[in-house]
């Protein structure tokens, strides 16, 4: 089904798909001030890597590029955000929805195949987000003039003055810029509600927060709007605005021959170090509810953690001494130091301790371990 979707995504314009032998053929056509590309991939890491590759390797001083792409279900956080604060990582693990950190700023978004991503590449001088968004709003007004579509000061696009159908983020690098935005055609809104909530309570952080907004799909208001029709409208509007004559071209972002080095860019984006290790320092302060085998026996404890570069930098577990000897809760806290802030790593680190302790305190200790692990997202 995926390949069928990919085929559909690329069959758009009348342009013949050429086998590009090298990126220089693709990007160096002197007759055209720009280019429209469509990614064949629905893998967020491949697509983000392609953005990075174009930004790093293509001379954008005299030309602009529009890249159109979409992803299988993914949550994408901004450059300086905290994934534990922004999305429900345990739920995402169950649903096999990955989290990706992009290099641009801004907030968290949910991507699926009903969401169109547009990346506008330009030189830093030509960086003009309003002009880019006008391409989108003009395209929408052309195909569905009855829709009330407006770009706001924050560079969101709203439908009916209320519902967000597009959010924007961008990156400025050495000589070039990219501005990308989402466009909700037919995304699964119920997934947004479930997945875009914190992984665990008690997070305190100065990472950039998201600003939640009510969203809607274009197809909720214009049910006849087909995906291909939307793409065609955007491509035509971009071509007309930026003075292009050529039609859009399909590219495979995993093609190392066409984009040398893109594979290692993808690996970096996919890696733990970038996704989680780049999280700004944060703390977790929360109350833990403890119990043992006897139903009526309960106790509250306090957890205080500092997480730096995605790892536990300090940890304090305050359990009443009547529940568990201090030496046990202290050694649990000690065992977490330096570990990734991650339930699997925590469970592994704590299981060693559990094995050492038998006797009447074992069930309380095990409960404390379980509760600690659950507090780690």
């Amino acid at each position: 089904m995926l390949s069928h979707l990919r085929g559909t995504f690329c069959v758009l314009s009348a342009g013949v798909q050429r086998a590009w032998s090298s990126s220089s053929c693709l990007f160096m056509d002197p007759s055209s001030p720009g280019l429209v590309l469509q990614s064949q991939s629905t893998d967020v890491f491949q697509n983000l890597a392609l953005e990075d590759w174009i930004d790093a390797h293509v001379d954008l001083q005299q030309r602009s590029i529009l890249l159109l792409w979409r992803n299988r279900p993914t949550v994408v956080i901004g450059r300086h955000q905290n994934p534990w604060a922004e999305c429900n990582l345990p739920a995402m693990r169950s649903a096999q929805v990955p989290v990706a950190r992009r290099r641009s700023g801004g907030g968290t978004v949910y991507h699926d195949l009903g969401n169109l991503n547009l990346t506008f590449f330009a030189s830093k001088k030509a960086y003009d987000r309003r002009r880019n968004l006008k391409v989108v709003t003009d395209a929408l007004r052309r195909v569905r003039p009855q829709l009330d579509i407006q770009a706001t000061d924050r560079l969101d696009i709203l439908l009916n003055g209320r519902y967000k159908i597009s959010g924007t983020a961008s990156r400025l690098s050495r000589k070039s810029s990219y501005h990308h935005c989402t466009l909700l055609h037919s995304a699964d809104r119920s997934a947004i509600a479930v997945l875009l909530r914190p992984s665990c309570p008690g997070i305190r952080s100065n990472a950039t927060p998201s600003i939640p907004s009510p969203v809607t799909n274009l197809t909720d208001h214009a049910p006849s709007l087909q995906w291909e029709e939307l793409l065609e409208a955007v491509v035509q509007q971009y071509s007309s605005e930026f003075g292009l004559t050529s039609s859009s071209q399909c590219v495979d972002p995993a093609d190392e021959a066409l984009f040398p080095g893109v594979g290692s860019m993808e690996a970096e984006l996919r890696g733990w170090q970038w996704t989680f290790g780049k999280t700004p320092k944060f703390s977790v302060e929360t109350q833990l509810e403890l119990r043992d085998e006897r139903p009526a026996a309960r106790c509250s404890a306090q957890l205080q953690l500092e997480v730096k570069n995605g790892r536990v930098e300090s940890c304090r577990v305050e359990v009443p001494a009547t529940w568990l000897p201090e030496r046990l809760s202290a050694s649990l806290a000690q065992a977490l130091l330096g570990e990734r802030f991650c339930p699997h790593r925590a469970a592994a680190a704590l299981s060693a301790l559990l094995r050492c302790e038998s006797g009447p305190l074992h069930s309380r200790l095990r409960n404390l371990c379980d509760v600690l692990v659950a507090a780690m997202g």
Binding site: G78, R79, H80, R103, S104, G105, Y127, A169, S170, R171, L172, S173, R174, S177, H179, N206, A207, T208, P280, K281
Partner: protein, 174 residues
């Protein structure tokens, strides 16, 4: 000295269309940056302090006792808009000149930071975590970004001095 410092702080908020600081005012800005703690009258210690140097990426470097303090220029902070987050390198991180070493996020974009020199990060401005707007309000003083060692002094020699940087900015605006 305090009055000049106050005036200097005010001036960084003006739009770049206003005339650049007079060289006298710029020299006093350098003196202000050279002193730690409260501004004092300039003493005649030699070899301790150099004038501001600038990169084409609109970063400034000020060297004192072999350590370079790095920040972004007024032109850069104006272009960035309100900074909402400073993503800085780690203390101890080794940087080559032009390495990507972080990003400043503003309402306009996430702008990559490039190391102006080769060296090791010795300090980062921890005030910016709570108060990233210092980069806009006080880009030459309280809004400094990192301090680093200078492994290759010749790199410093190749950076622009104030007059060259002023000329460079003018050429961009044309």
């Amino acid at each position: 000295m305090a009055m000049r410092a106050a005036l200097r702080c005010l001036s960084v908020n003006f739009s770049p269309r206003l005339p650049q600081l007079s060289s006298a005012a710029q020299v006093s800005a350098t003196r202000l940056l050279c002193r730690s703690g409260a501004p004092r009258t300039l003493s005649t210690t030699s070899g301790q302090c150099t004038a501001l140097k600038f990169t084409e990426k609109h970063e400034w470097v000020l060297v004192e006792s072999g350590i370079g303090t790095v920040g972004i220029s007024n032109y850069a902070q104006e272009a960035l808009g309100d900074v909402v987050y400073c993503g800085l390198p780690e203390v101890g991180q080794k940087l080559e000149q032009l390495d990507e070493c972080g990003a400043l996020e503003s309402v306009k974009a996430a702008s990559e930071l490039y190391s102006p020199l080769t060296g090791e990060v010795t300090a980062i401005n921890t005030e910016l975590a709570e108060n990233p707007g210092l980069v806009n309000k006080s880009c030459y003083a309280d809004g400094w970004l990192i301090k680093m060692t200078i492994e290759r002094p010749e790199e410093l020699d190749r950076l622009m001095d104030q007059p060259a940087y002023d000329k460079f900015i003018k050429s961009l605006e044309e």
